[in-house]
Subunit: 412 residues, 2 copies
């Protein structure tokens, strides 16, 4: 009989957001009149920017005429978009990235999940704890994580870097050698960041250990403080050790549009079994051209519109709207005397559950007492236990209402 | 140093269409005035159907308003599309497929490439020869193919099923056990098909051997003859052994839109190391929800429009346009006294190269003497040597012109 990929059997439980959705569905079935407000999954709620809508209509019309119709495009993305990314995202930060180092995709989740496949299964990965589950789960599927230890809630071949209030949510550089390091900054789920100096220490470590940093900068547009790098390629030496994931999802409300990109510098290499260097740009190009067929033309035109002057102004207004929600949530939590982190350079607020409750206990409490959905911290890793994530992506009025409910209805 | 996935080193040469593009680019640089007509890569040229354009504009407007904006959708696809697929594609053929057995994606190429990962690397795969390169290359990347033998042009752990004029392009059922069988019907590149009885024999073999058939039906809408199944689920027993790939690309001109889907019946299973059965529907669902984040909402609305009565009528007119091109090409080749196959139930014509020329020799001859691009058969596998693929996806006038040039300019 055809055998399955046995690594899948090591995957733990359901995908976090699926379990959240299941509990919310069950609650709504039991309480059909409940007006549930979600500050849970990190999905945006504001409409697309007018410049994007305009570009979409125009591109759709092009598809209606044989003279301007577009079929297969380059798997790596159209030149117009790759060049706009260079000019709008990287050049202003003096980060050296060339258009042919950019691979446009259907989103950063796909790229974060698929990129690991160009590496050997013998590499040791390091992840922060808590962490965006996709990094870990996709390495489990590939057989890179060893066995799961029920007692610790950890895989035995993975190096976990705890990020808690005790260390200011700063991942500590491992004492032992690792090959692949996942960093997300601004961080999902904790909403915290690394400074330039802190990120430089990681680049230096990777150079010394000949390791690769997989850097997820999906939330870069939410940075408000000066000392936080917007891209790892602002850091000297990063081009030799880093690959960067970027997304239009949180940047421009593209969660339902599906467009992201990954930067693989031509100066970053892996090693073949005989010890020779192999370009990771070439490898990812091969993967991308063989298992992917490009992002829809109309979606790429929409992404291009995001990168125009008008588009940039419009998306920044929307981001300001969300960051005002973050401020409202932070103020509310302060008023309640709760401990929380993040929400300054990221749309996530990471709060300490009160009275030593577990993350899922607090999830159920918040849902049942206040009709509010959040995300249990333990879903992001063992060190997320006792924490809880709220997001700033909701409607402004609903966010104010949610904070009011927390203040008045939660029995603490 | 971080190691690479060493299986990538076994990949042979460049991806076929990249090499074709390279040679065409070089020819155009040398001959800037040449009016090159492509009957090569299988890309469509007709604009999207009016019903699709209308649906796109409507969906774009929804994205402009917070009340109707859509963020993340279900990774598996919206219910409206999955149900439309059941009702328009499967029910009329009395093929039992449920909406939750359908996984909407960004295209059949991605699905054909990614699906193999839910299987163990110890399975033996069988592919037709010639074959759509993605089936083989993605198994090479996974380490399922053993080593490449330069002498035969084959991987030692793959079972190749030659399809040539000598056996009417019918893959022969293997004499030995195989675990996974890739079938494409109507076939890319040969343009030939299996009858119901012939496909039933494959389903029976798979049941007997407890094997899985991965059935690529991307060209089903091009079938004109009565006895050719439009889906493998028309065949009794297929629900126990088959997974089907489908695409809107050639069906509705979506090559630049990126939408396809895969049907994984809940009745098809793989085996775990301890010998228990594992649902492949569950496994693919886990893969799809972890490494993919759904197809864009507006694209799914466009796909839904394809499946309406009006959409169906409009796309069938476009398919008739392409199939008339196929007729023109077939007539021209007949007039030239050349041997060819296909073009009746598929948009591909598979011709025998004249005078024992190799496929690439004929490619260069056609390009240099007649300014026409086709696809060398040998790019699809060793048994494709001595054959050549022409496609019917061109502009009607350009196709007539191309046939005229072949007749008058080719020095045979």
């Amino acid at each position: 009989m055809t055998t399955i990929n046995k690594n899948y059997l090591k995957l733990q439980g359901n995908y976090l957001f699926a379990e959240v959705a299941r509990r919310v569905r069950a609650y709504k079935e039991e309480n059909p009149k409940a007006n549930v407000i979600s500050l849970g999954i990190g999905d945006v709620t504001r409409p697309l920017a007018p410049a994007v809508i305009e570009a979409l209509h125009k591109a759709v019309d092009e598809m209606a005429d044989a003279a301007t119709f577009r079929g297969y495009g380059p798997e790596q993305g159209y030149a117009f978009l790759r060049e706009a990314i260079v000019n709008t995202i990287y050049k202003p930060r003096k980060a050296e990235v060339a258009a042919d180092e950019i691979f446009v995709s259907d989103g950063a989740k796909s790229d974060c999940g698929n990129l690991q496949e160009i590496f050997g299964t013998d590499n040791t990965i390091a992840i922060t704890d808590p962490v965006y589950p996709v990094y870990l789960d996709t390495n489990v599927m590939a057989g890179r994580t060893g066995f799961f230890d029920e007692a610790t809630g950890m895989f035995d071949k993975v190096v976990y870097m705890p990020c808690t209030a005790e260390n200011d949510f700063l991942p500590q550089i491992p004492q032992k050698h690792v090959d692949i390091i996942y960093l997300c900054c601004p961080n999902n789920p904790t909403g915290t960041t690394l400074s330039r100096v802190q990120l430089k220490a990681w680049v230096d470590y990777a150079k010394k250990e000949k390791a690769i940093i997989l850097y997820d900068a999906a939330y870069a547009y939410y940075i408000t403080e000066e000392d936080v790098p917007h891209t790892i390629f602002e850091i000297e030496g990063a081009r030799d050790v880093a690959i960067e994931f970027r997304s239009f999802s949180k940047t421009a409300g593209f969660t339902g549009m599906r467009c992201g990109y990954t930067v693989v510098p031509k100066t970053v290499f892996g090693m073949t079994p005989d010890g020779t260097k192999k370009s990771l740009n070439e490898m990812w190009n091969r993967r991308h051209t063989t298992k992917f067929n490009g992002t829809a033309y109309i979606i790429q035109r929409a992404a291009e519109a995001v990168l125009t002057e008008k588009g940039q102004q419009q998306i920044k207004e929307t981001i300001a709207y969300y960051m005002n929600n973050a401020k409202v949530i932070r103020q509310g939590l302060s008023d309640m005397g709760m401990k929380y982190y993040g929400g300054v350079n990221a749309p996530y607020i990471w709060l300490r559950t009160p009275e030593g409750m577990s993350s899922w206990e607090f999830f159920d409490k918040l849902l049942h007492e206040a009709d509010i959905v959040g995300t249990p911290g333990s879903g992001f890793g063992p060190s997320g236990e006792g924490y809880f994530r709220l997001t700033a992506f909701g409607d402004a009025k609903a966010t104010v209402e949610a904070v009011e409910r927390m203040k008045t209805r939660l029995k603490l």
